[in-house]
Each structure stands twice: as structure tokens, then as C-alpha cells.
């Protein structure tokens, strides 16, 4: 589903609730020693929106996610989730506030079963502490039952219910990615950050994932920010895209505008030689993999 209405920059009406901003990041910066990883990053994700974050390898995309979720503390700028300031807070606090994520290099609880992975995340919405747990009070019992019930439903939606007792680490790759999403959804987030959800998948799996991601908004009322390298996917489903390179935002706007933006093309392909074939117009190119310059998959030592 492409974004309705094309303006060069700024947000579109699309199907998102443009009135409510679910996640508001303003002028985030982070430097590691002398290296500026992220410079002046801003983003306003509306409730129910589906936004994309793209850029070449090492551009700093996952670092942005880490800044948003509290893994790193920004040097400057701040982040608001549904109006509440969350920058500088611990990741667990931010998860409780309603923002969940998946990881670029899958981080499941390998030895635990599939359903226990989900149940663990669901625990963030419980109120019983250690004493209630040890004494098995009615509240605790009710919460545990509710957790199991909801976890099973999540497994059904993500189509991995048949594997619920298996160890997470023994799952096939595609199912592991689904499990990561299910686990993030178990925390009942208002904002979901997906870090390369279709990396390493074949065309069929990607198609399924695409449908799944789009349906998440309606089913769970969640706003989504997506990091991906698959340009076809990003252009198709995102309402708005931010492009960063070396930590700097180089373009922002509707997919069509991004495709035509020379700065974006240059970042991905470099400046074209005069002699060689001219860069094909994005319209003419089939909707396939991103035209990156021979980059290896981003599971390498660098950051996305």
C-alpha cells in the first residue's frame, strides 16, 4: 500500500492519525569519542503511522534505535513518547512506557521455549511482585493465566503457534524473526521499532512479512518505525521515509520524493561517471533489492 498524496517533504495524511504524535524525537546527537555517530536526528511518528528509516551500511540507523530505546543516552536532544519525556531513561522504563523493538541480530532467549519468550515480555504489564508470586495470590494467578492466554493469541497471529513449546534457538530463521516481533508485541507497545525484519528472507517470506507488518497497525493500534535495506518493501509500505548517512539526515519525505532525491542516490551509489551508463530512473527500475554499492549484509561488524 503506497502512501496517498505525494508532497516533497513533510508528512502525509496517509492512513495515520496525523493529529497525534506517538513518538517525537528532536535533534538527537551522539558521539563515541571523536566519532559522531548520529547528528541532529529528528522524527515525528504519528499514532498508527508506518515510517521508514534507511541508509547505507554503517549509516547509524541502529544507533538511532538504540538512542530511542534508551540503550544509549543522547548527547543532545530529547525524545517524547506520547508526550512523556523518555530520553535518558532505562530501556526497561521505556518499554513499560510503550515502545518496543526487535533487533538486527536476533536476540531471542534461546534456551527458553517460544511461548516463554513471549510470556517473559508480557510480564511487563503485570503488577504482582515477588511476594505475590511466592504466595500465589489471586492477582498473581489471574495475571499468569492472562499472560498465557494472550501469548497464545499472539503466537496464532504471528503463525508460530505450532512451535510454542520448542526452544527458541532451534527455530528456523524466518520463525525467529516472527517470534521477535511477537515478543515485542507482548509488551503492548504504542510504538514498535523493527530493525531489518526481513533481512535474509526469500521473496515469498518477504511478501508474507510485508502483509503482516501492515496489518499490525490495525490489529494492535501500534505505530511502526522500520529499518530496512529492501527498498521495494520500504517504498511500498512506508508513508514517510527518513534517509541518513554517516549519522546525518540527508533526506526526508514521501517515498516518491526520496527515490528521486539526488542526495539519496549519491549516498547509495556514489557520484556516477560520465562515461558509464547513466543511473536508471527509479521509476524504471523494478521493485527489488536496494541498489547498494556491493555492500555485504548488515550482519557484519559494522552498524546499519
Amino acid at each position: 500500500m503506497t502512501a496517498a498524496g505525494t508532497s516533497d517533504a513533510g508528512q502525509t495524511a496517509g492512513t495515520s492519525d496525523a493529529g497525534q504524535i506517538a513518538l517525537d524525537a528532536q535533534r538527537l546527537s551522539l558521539a563515541f569519542g571523536g566519532l559522531k555517530a548520529v547528528s541532529d536526528f529528528s522524527l515525528a511518528l504519528p499514532a498508527g503511522g508506518l515510517y521508514g528509516l534507511i541508509g547505507p551500511n554503517g549509516a547509524g540507523k541502529t544507533t538511532v534505535f538504540n538512542l530511542l530505546t534508551g540503550v544509549y543516552r543522547p548527547d543532545t536532544g530529547h525524545v517524547e513518547l506520547g508526550g512523556e519525556r523518555i530520553d535518558g531513561k532505562k530501556p526497561s522504563h521505556i518499554a513499560r512506557a510503550g515502545m518496543a523493538r526487535t533487533f538486527q541480530n536476533i536476540r531471542l532467549f534461546g534456551e527458553l521455549s517460544v511461548i516463554d519468550n513471549i510470556r517473559t515480555a508480557a510480564g511487563v504489564r503485570t503488577r504482582s511482585g515477588l511476594f505475590r508470586t511466592l504466595l500465589r495470590t489471586p492477582l498473581h494467578l489471574a495475571e499468569e493465566r492472562a499472560i498465557t492466554e494472550r501469548s497464545l493469541e499472539l503466537l496464532e497471529v504471528l503463525k508460530i503457534a505450532h512451535r510454542r513449546e520448542e526452544q527458541a534457538k532451534s527455530l528456523p530463521y524466518g520463525d525467529q524473526r516472527r517470534l521477535e516481533i511477537a515478543r515485542a508485541l507482548a509488551t503492548e507497545p504504542r510504538v514498535l521499532l523493527l530493525d531489518e525484519p526481513v533481512a535474509g528472507m526469500n521473496t515469498q517470506e518477504k511478501r508474507e512479512m510485508r502483509g503482516l507488518i501492515q496489518s499490525l497497525r490495525g490489529q494492535f493500534g501500534v505505530a511502526i518505525l522500520l529499518i530496512e535495506h529492501d527498498m521495494g518493501l520500504v517504498m511500498e509500505i512506508c508513508e514517510h521515509i527518513t534517509v541518513i548517512d554517516h549519522g546525518v539526515t540527508i533526506a526526508r519525505g514521501a517515498p516518491k520524493a526520496i527515490q528521486d532525491d539526488p542526495a539519496v542516490i549519491e549516498a547509495y551509489l556514489g557520484v556516477p561517471d560520465d562515461a558509464a551508463d547513466p543511473v536508471p530512473a527509479p521509476d524504471a527500475a523494478p521493485r527489488t533489492e536496494a541498489p547498494e554499492a556491493a555492500g555485504p549484509s548488515s550482519d557484519g561488524p559494522g552498524e546499519a
Binding site: T69, V71, K90, P91, S92, H93, A95, R96, A100, R101, F103, R107, L108, F109, G110, E111, L112, D116, R119, T120, A121, A122, G123, V124, R125, T126, S128, G129, L130, T133, L134, L135, R136, T137, P138, L139, H140, L141, A142, E143, E144, R145, A146, I147, E149, R150, E153, L154, V157, R183, A184, A186, T187, E188, Q219, F220
Partner: protein, 368 residues
């Protein structure tokens, strides 16, 4: 999809039902402990009684360490320190308190009489003081991983050991004790010599009541959100934090809870052997306890029980080889780590294994 709290109201069991379910295991525990003390104990002779007692205390110590090392995956080598704290605290209360309030140095009163109640109180007090130290030890754990945490916890254990060694000597005559208040006597823990003549209150009953209660708690913890949070910290701390598990809190709580029961174990130990000396409760003891957890399976309750039983009973069976016991243990540790690092059970329980499941299925009449 409905949120969690929306469902909770509908799924709430009634209070009487929940109360019954909650209390039942404890009643069974007390019953079993009484059975062991009254029926099994007298039937097996003095040697085996002692072994049974030792197994019970080992279960208590290893089971509590399992919470930190097994569930939370934090490698603590300082558990003997909690034993030390709990043991000395309890001994202080029963020895000096006994003289103050009962006027005698040995045990006093009958079953659940004043003396035994004082003893129970001392166990709980020992646990609480140990729990306090557990918080102290847990705090550095927040920023340390693996090897370093092990060394720091070892260091803590040694510090506690040293601290006991600089206390004053223990006045043993009734007159000497009665003239001074309990608080004054808090510094008279025997120093580098031993603290002796601790009343021998420890019986099979008390040991197994505490041990079973701990096992029930360990079970309930493991199959709950809190417990899964700990296991998540062990599996992948960064992901756990991202999924809303307050890893700081989880780790400190694990240490505190574990330390409490370690202290109780120490208190029971003190009142069994009657003489506490700091040299005995040093890192060697910590390593003995770690051995049980590692071989039984880090994170497994049944594993810990098995490990405790094996590592206490085996040396008794092979008395002639007592000299070589430690050498065998040492080799066993190395071999286990190379060939089967998850120990006997790994993180699974007996009821998770396939043979058990097949048995249960067959008993239920289903097809395998």
C-alpha cells in the same frame, strides 16, 4: 487484541480457592518434614540420619545459590559469606539469648517450646541479616559480568570472613554473659577462634521444613513472570531490558532472596555442628556449593536436589576413598565442563524430560 489487565479481572480465582492452593504445598511440606523426622529418621541409624540432615542443608544452600547462578546467570562465588553471616547471627541470638532468657547454655524446652521458637527466630534473623548483605553484594553485580563478578563475590565473602575474625572473644561462662546486654555482645563472636557451644537445635524436621519451603518458592518463582525475567537476564540481558525487565532490580532481588536462604542454611548448619569457625566458611565452602549447582544443572530445581544428594551421599559410600574425594570432584568438574557443561539436568526439570513426558502420557491413557 485485548490487553493483559483487561483479561485479568475475568480470570481471577476466588480467594478461598487461591488460599487453599497457595497454602497446600506448605502444609504438605510440614507434614513430610515431620514424617522424615519422626518416622524415617529413627529407622535409619545415626550415620544415615546425619547424612540425611546434611543433604537437607545442602539442598537449602545449593537451591538458594541456584536462584542467582542458575536462574539469573550471575556467577556468585561468595555464598559461604551468607552462611557465615546467618550462622553467626543465629548463634549470637541463641547462645547469648539463651543464657539471658533461659539461664542455660544448651537447648531448652520441648517441641516448639520457648527454646525452639528462639531458634526459629534466630534462623529467620540470620536470613534477614544475610539478605541485607545480599543487597550489598548484589549492587556491584549490576555492572560486572562473568569472571569479574565471580572474583568480586569471592572478595566479598573473604571480607565478611575477615570481619568476623576481628571480633572479640566469646565469653563462655554464664556469669560473664549475664552481665552484658545482647547488643554489647554483638561484637563477641569469637574472632579468629571458634564460636562454640551453640545449642544443638537443628533437627531433621527443621531442616526439611525450610528446605521444602525453599523448593516450593523456587518452583513458584521459576514458573512465573519474575522468574522468567531472571532467566531472560541470564539468556540475553540486553534483550531482557528491552522487553521491560528491570534487570537491575531483578538481579538485586535474586541476590537478596538467595542470600536470605543462604543465611538460613548457615543458621541450621551452626546449630548442627555447634562450633562455628571462620576458616570453615570460606570460599572453599562456596566452591562446594557451586559444585552442586554446576553438576546438578544450573537453573534446575530437580538438578540441584539430585546434585546435593549425590555430592553428599557418594563420599559417605566411598569412605575409604575419602582422601581422594576432592581430587575426584575436581576432575569431575573439569570433565563435566568439557563433556556436558549443562550438568545433569541443564536448566530443565525432571518433568520437562522426554522419558517423564512419555510416562505421564501413558498413564493418562493417551497414545505415545
Amino acid at each position: 487484541m485485548k490487553s493483559l489487565q483487561e483479561r485479568v479481572a475475568a480470570l481471577r480465582p476466588s480467594l478461598p480457592a487461591a488460599l487453599g492452593r497457595s497454602a497446600l504445598p506448605f502444609l504438605i511440606a510440614i507434614g513430610l518434614a515431620y514424617l522424615i523426622d519422626a518416622a524415617i529418621g529413627p529407622a535409619i541409624g545415626a550415620t544415615w540420619r546425619k547424612i540425611l540432615l546434611d543433604v537437607g542443608i545442602a539442598i537449602l544452600l545449593a537451591g538458594s545459590l541456584n536462584i542467582v547462578n542458575g536462574y539469573a546467570g550471575q556467577f556468585s562465588l561468595g555464598h559461604a559469606g551468607f552462611m557465615l553471616v546467618g550462622g553467626y547471627t543465629a548463634a549470637w541470638l541463641t547462645f547469648y539469648g539463651g543464657i539471658h532468657w533461659f539461664g542455660v547454655k544448651g537447648t531448652y524446652g520441648g517441641f516448639l517450646g520457648a527454646g525452639q521458637l528462639l531458634f526459629l527466630g534466630s534462623c529467620v534473623l540470620g536470613g534477614l541479616v544475610a539478605a541485607g548483605f545480599g543487597a550489598l553484594v548484589g549492587l556491584p553485580s549490576l555492572r560486572l559480568r562473568g569472571d569479574y563478578l565471580a572474583i568480586v563475590t569471592l572478595g566479598f565473602g573473604e571480607i565478611l570472613n575477615r570481619l568476623v575474625q576481628i571480633t572479640d572473644r566469646q565469653p563462655k561462662r554464664v556469669e560473664d554473659v549475664q552481665g552484658r546486654s545482647l547488643f554489647e555482645l554483638a561484637n563477641n563472636l569469637g574472632g579468629a577462634e571458634s564460636f562454640s557451644q551453640i545449642p544443638g537445635y537443628t533437627t531433621l524436621f527443621f531442616v526439611y521444613v525450610f528446605a521444602f519451603v525453599l523448593l516450593v518458592f523456587a518452583y513458584r518463582l521459576k514458573y512465573s513472570s519474575r522468574g522468567r525475567g531472571l532467566l531472560a537476564v541470564r539468556e540475553n540481558e540486553i534483550a531482557a531490558e528491552a522487553m521491560g525487565v528491570d534487570t537491575t532490580r531483578a538481579k538485586v532481588v535474586a541476590f537478596v532472596f538467595s542470600a536470605f536462604w543462604g543465611g538460613v542454611g548457615g543458621a541450621l548448619y551452626a546449630h548442627q555442628i555447634s562450633t562455628l569457625s571462620p576458616g570453615e566458611l570460606s570460599f572453599q565452602k562456596s566452591i562446594d556449593i557451586v559444585l552442586i549447582v554446576v553438576i546438578g544443572g544450573m537453573g534446575s530445581i530437580t538438578g540441584v536436589v539430585l546434585g546435593a544428594a549425590i555430592l553428599v551421599i557418594l563420599p559417605e559410600l566411598a569412605r575409604e576413598f575419602a582422601d581422594y574425594r576432592m581430587i575426584v570432584y575436581a576432575l569431575a568438574l573439569v570433565v563435566v565442563m568439557i563433556l556436558r557443561p549443562q550438568g545433569i539436568m541443564g536448566v530443565r526439570e525432571l518433568w520437562d524430560t522426554s522419558p517423564w513426558r512419555r510416562l505421564v502420557q501413558r498413564l493418562r491413557g493417551g497414545q505415545p
